[in-house]
Subunit: 183 residues, 2 copies
Amino acid sequence: MNKLGLARGEVHLRVSAILVLVLTTCLVAFDTQTKVVFLSIEKKATYKDLGALKILVYVTSAAAGYNFLQLCKHSTWPRKNFQGSYMCKAWISFLLDQMGAYMVFGANTAAVGAAMLAITGSESFQWIKVCDRFTRFCVQVGGALLCGYVASMLMAIVSTISAYNVFRMYSPKWLLRLKTTSM
Amino acid sequence: MNKLGLARGEVHLRVSAILVLVLTTCLVAFDTQTKVVFLSIEKKATYKDLGALKILVYVTSAAAGYNFLQLCKHSTWPRKNFQGSYMCKAWISFLLDQMGAYMVFGANTAAVGAAMLAITGSESFQWIKVCDRFTRFCVQVGGALLCGYVASMLMAIVSTISAYNVFRMYSPKWLLRLKTTSM
């Protein structure tokens, strides 16, 4: 396995991440359920009822877009010698990947925090359990959140590869000094 | 700035992280407010009313304990040559630090997701706004969540240092091959 193998692995991971992110977005955004609550009064549950789900849709779409841009860069960006321009791009990639992974993970976990309340309710706050009524809606959101965690995991692995791409260029003996010869 | 400087920086970061994590735990765990709701019926809001806040208290305590153990290791673990045992410990530190940073960030963000509902309520789910009644309680939780984000940031920086400690040992030319000479 050579350097090209790692680059190909990164591409596979990014493509998988994009697919899972798009799946998450679609599962949440197209999830609606209508129930007759009282006589003929209908109630419709959509992702817009929970702020956290709205944010999740925005963040996963943005993350899918970001990974797509990184893929485009991959196909046009030739590997250069490891000083100067390469380091700058590797650092930017690393920081953006880290931020992306944390953003997706954070948005997903915030949605889990809010969704748990829909399942359990809160007696002391007099919040009723919503999932008793909108069961199918809740199951679909649950599936989307699982997909979201798969996506976060993929993005965390990609950001580890980015960290490897940056830090292996540094000397093991001297702090933050680049290697001068190739080993 | 030499390698010792980085190690000292890591110690400072870990100590700060422990302090902020303990502060977060205390702010959430000792936050209570009692209000007369109807005639003489009293209601008490504590962190136990929201599952996400309970989880946050556990996770921040555990993270503070983990960072303390890492500090103990730092004072007893002499820096060795960079092959074998060092690599194993550096990899374990890196993976644990990554997991720790994601756990604290995730627990904090899940609590934000649930806490936002206490501020905004949800009209379609008939969830009332709790913060109108328990204002001081909510302000203290808000402060705790801010501290939680500071702690996550500190732990993310520590995990970046751990990544640096691992990956600079690898060759820049050959994939996942350790350097054989010191540069």
